[in-house]
């Protein structure tokens, strides 16, 4: 998004957070009992539900892979979830790209070799959005996959980083992303591998600062990781 000629007030952000501070996070596991696994992930006013079905038979048949199961993600904003006009139901170019990126972000932690010709479906639905929707979707989906009992190497933690005029910041709000025009860098991080499985960038960032951004992202990801783990544990502690 092109930077507009609006300076953000230095020292603090529009919502009063410090530069490194994430918005309040709330994670819940098992929100869709009908699914094999599910979770919700809320960060600020962005809320993502994720539900996992599978491994199950894959149709159409020509997509089946006899060597491994496949992961299929679907990202969908509820029609009333945007801060603006109604979002038309159905897929768009944007939602299709995000769906694909979500699968790529999640696949490295999965091993679907034991499920040939099958599919694991991940459905992400957003009732409320305020920037960082793909990231909240990935964070929720990782928890839902774990809740579904799939063999996983780790969870995936995702949020967006921001950069504006030399200042690095964590977890952009809708205001910062759209109204101010902060460079938006959505990332997904896999702690045990110490690697990133999602990396996008919209805006201008010098190379040296990009490395600093990723280093800070790693550090903050661990905070979010704990929330995901705690939520998963909480469900199973109740013995559900």
């Amino acid at each position: 998004m092109a930077a507009k000629a609006v300076k953000i007030e230095y020292k603090k952000r529009s919502d009063g957070r410090s530069w490194e501070e994430l918005r309040p996070i709330e994670a819940k596991t098992g929100i869709v009992p009908r699914a094999d696994g599910s979770a919700s992930f809320k960060i600020g006013h962005t809320l993502a539900y994720a539900a996992v079905y599978g491994p199950r038979d894959l149709h159409p048949k020509f997509m089946q892979n006899p060597e491994t199961g496949i992961l299929r993600c679907r990202y969908n904003m509820m029609p009333f979830s945007g801060h603006g006009e109604r979002v038309r139901p159905g897929t768009s170019r944007r939602s299709q790209e995000i769906s694909m990126l979500m699968s790529k972000a999640l696949l490295p932690v999965l091993d679907l070799k034991d499920y040939p010709n099958s599919v694991v479906d991940v459905f992400v639905e957003l009732p409320e959005t305020d920037a960082g929707t793909r990231c909240a979707g990935i964070s929720a989906a990782a928890m839902a996959l774990a809740d579904a009992g799939l063999a996983m190497k780790d969870l995936v933690v995702s949020f967006s980083m921001g950069y504006y005029d030399g200042q690095i910041m964590c977890d952009l709000s809708g205001y910062e992303d759209c109204d101010v025009g902060v460079s938006d860098i959505p990332v997904a991080y896999i702690p045990s591998m110490d690697k990133f499985s999602l990396l996008q960038l919209d805006g201008e960032v010098p190379k040296e600062d990009l490395i600093k951004i990723l280093q800070l992202a790693k550090k903050k990801a661990l905070d979010m990781y704990k929330v995901q783990q705690e939520s998963l544990k909480a469900k199973y502690r109740q013995g559900e």
Partner: protein, 258 residues
Amino acid sequence: MKMTKEHVLKYLTSGTRYDGRKNDEYREVKIEYGVSHAAEGSARVSIGETVVIAGVKMGLEKPYPDTPMQGNLMINAELTPMSSPLFETGPPREQAIELSRVIDRSIRESKAIELTKLCIKEGEQAWSVMVDIVTVNDAGNLFDAAALAAIAALQDTAYPEHDAEGNVNYSKKTKEKLPLAQTPIEVTVLKIGDHIIADPLPEEEEALDARLTVAVNDKNVICAMQKGGDMPLSIDEISAMVDLAMAKAKELRKKLTR
């Protein structure tokens, strides 16, 4: 696990349904208002484990030429693949279309929203009210949950700010609420064998012979109906089903706290 019709009937004959309820008993109903700040109004309804969210978006549009003094009401429902393994991605199929149309009729025919009040300038500017219903978890009785979510979301709806040119400022909601003249309540009653039940589970829905959805307005007058299922109904059966629906509608109405 698939339960056969025979099995469902065995439970009904014994007088207790397989989740332990009586035939006319509802599961716990919860309504949460204002669940999405992005929408002009929203609500989340749960009936037992069934969860449905409805949200309202308002837009300023030119009225249709044949109704220059009226705003527009639109009800849409999505049975998401998230909510049940039986729902698939893609455009709404007949089940979702029927659901949204039955709810549309209960709201339209009860005149819950007076469309002329949505008109700002004749033939030029009027509000359109767009209600979207999204299923989160299907544990049976999506009809009643969706109808309740839609009306609760409308109760929660406030107009956004707008200027004279018709630009809407969605980031600012006014204190002015969307006026509702009626709050129609829908109750779906199933007939399985000789049994009449309210608030069905998915296995009971699969075993149904006939289904009757009844909407009643504030004065307890029927304002919309829809029969479903493959078997026909006698007058006596219809009468009994409507009686049960109307009794349950009274209970459901108490859950709306606005």
